[in-house]
Amino acid sequence: MISRRNFITTIATGVAATALLSACGKSGSEAGGGTAENPTVVNYTWWGNDDRAERTNKAIALFNEKNPTIKVVGTFSDWAGYWQKRATEAAGGGLPDVMQWDLSYLRDYAQRNQLLDLSEAGIDLSGFEKTLLPSGKVNDKQFGIPTSTNAFAVYYDPAKLKEIGVAEPTGKWTYAEYQQFLTDAGTKSNGKYYGSTDFTGIWWQFNIWLRQNKITDFTPEGKLGFAKADLAKWWNLNADLRGTPAIIPSDKITQLLPKSPFGSNKTVSEPTWDNFMAGYIGDSGVAELKMVAVPSDDPENLGLFLKPSMLMVASAKTKNKDASTKFIDFMVNSPEVGEIFKTSRGVPASKQQREGTTFEGVDAQVVAYEESIADYLSDAPEPPIVGFGTLESEFLRIQEELNYGKVTVDQAVDQWFTSAEDVIKQNA
């Protein structure tokens, strides 16, 4: 006979025993250096599309083949789901050993002691530009190693421009000339194409404009470095263009998601990162796309910089530090990995990897673009403030309301500053 008390005790003992057993099992398999029969398991996660998944799996297979005592196991998801998963894992103390990372979230996780300091982890950093490494540093510790760099550019489709009779841009242009180009493209195509998306809605282009005007985005103390008047000036820049064929309206953009207007052949140009080239060609099916530098009213100061397009990080709680850092070193430095990824992650950041990779076609175009702007580059950005992900998405959201005509520029600026100050206060 089972009495109530007995029953509960039995269950409780059972549960405790199972937990104990599984705990033992875990420590049993993870302890030790790993052998060919019983390799050390390193969990690796990344975001991306199928193309990146295929390339990453190739790189992992190559690493596993070269290191029989280590077994890297990979998982991936799309961008939005990626950060939600990491947040819940971090809360539960179970981040994967090695992760692909983004600059926007580096400070959030590093300051909260979730990431491993890789400064002395034995990763070869000799091939990295000294100006690039600080973008993986938080409080003077190297938490992230850049895999590759990307730079901001204005893409355009030469075939569409020819079709509608608009001259190709040279990349040496002012904002007024850029706007004239967008207006020409929109009006001369008689409704077939728009000029571009509203470039004032892109945080990073705002960041470039601030640099052109010698204004900082965030102060070292983690406060805003620009004033309401600066943001108002930026959003007012396109005040006359919104609602004209120069800029594609927001309701059209919404319906094209998840594809971009440029990738859907609705616009003739698009300002964004240079490593998106292959993606745009794949989406739109056009034969060729070209890139030029962003406009600037000061021809000597383009405000451009190389940003780590992604970083490699390790969890602070990893039990396999050596195997994890070995894998990171392989991913950032090996020329064979460079051959697998080409420029789909951006241009390889490490010299060894970059020089060991042959670039052709689209990849050669991306590398050539970064070389063409080399003389104008300023320092890579430091990891932005905690909560930057929220600020960036708020920037996009509020600018969308502006495009819909739901708010005035002044109201939009007030809204963004309110939420920015809230985020800064929350994370202070």
Partner: protein, 317 residues
Amino acid sequence: MTQTSAPARRAKSGPPLRNEKSKQRRAEARTGYAFLLPWLLGFIVLTAGPMISSLYLSFTNYNLFEAPKWIGFDNYANLFQDDRFIQSVKVTLTYVVFGTPTKLLAALAIAMLLNSKRRGQGFYRSAFYVPSLIGASVSIAIVWKAMFGDAGPVDQILSFFGIGIGGWVGNPNMTMPMMILLTVWQFGAPMIIFLAGLKQVPAELYEAAEMDGAGWAKKFTSITLPMLSPVIFFNLLMETIHAFQIFASAFIISNGSGGPAGSTMFYTLYLYLRGFGDFRMGYASAMAWLLLIAIGIITLIFFKTSNNWVHYSGDEK
């Protein structure tokens, strides 16, 4: 509680058997608890536990990484200064106030059509229920998005009749009608309940009314509606609560952004974005508790006013 009162009442009947009976009853109670245990454990661990911890979190600043910091009622106070929160309340209330009655009207109308005796009625009943079986799924929201997009079927049909408003999905003024249509289309569950209610209305009432010369409208307002009022009450309550919790379809149609221009920023969607997008779990918990309280109050109001319009058979009213 029930187990203490039941033996006490029964014990009066036979004093000699008391010991044996109560023993047996206790054994029964134990068995009952044993059978209840899996459910009870599930409730405590998976529902009550998280609820209590979310109540605690709602008074803290908690970002998932660091220990929660106690801040009292700050989260609740901040909510009312948050424009996006107010926007989400407006959007949700609009949806509930217009969507729920429309859906119930559709459900009742179709239930009455299906209540008449016709050949193949069983087939029609199943056919009308199908949208509700698949309606809540992710796939149907994706289909909806395609149907109401630029140059989608809806736009084409409307353009044919000279109403050229373009795609609904990207137009902030049209997303709410679209969401309401989506919920109205899922009328199946309340329809089945209405149908069951209609079957309970005694046919002799209608016969008597017809003898007295009552027309269709009179029969509907004087017999069908009063006789159906308990079922209407039940459906209204369930559908209202359900409507407050809309999430999946809004999430999919707006790509999780609540756009365009905040027009699909429903309460639960904003809660989710605050919690898992901005890592502000304390704030999100406060929102969850406020929603629970609001739904509780609305339910209470429904019950209080129901005395005036819900007629149960055997009541004097």
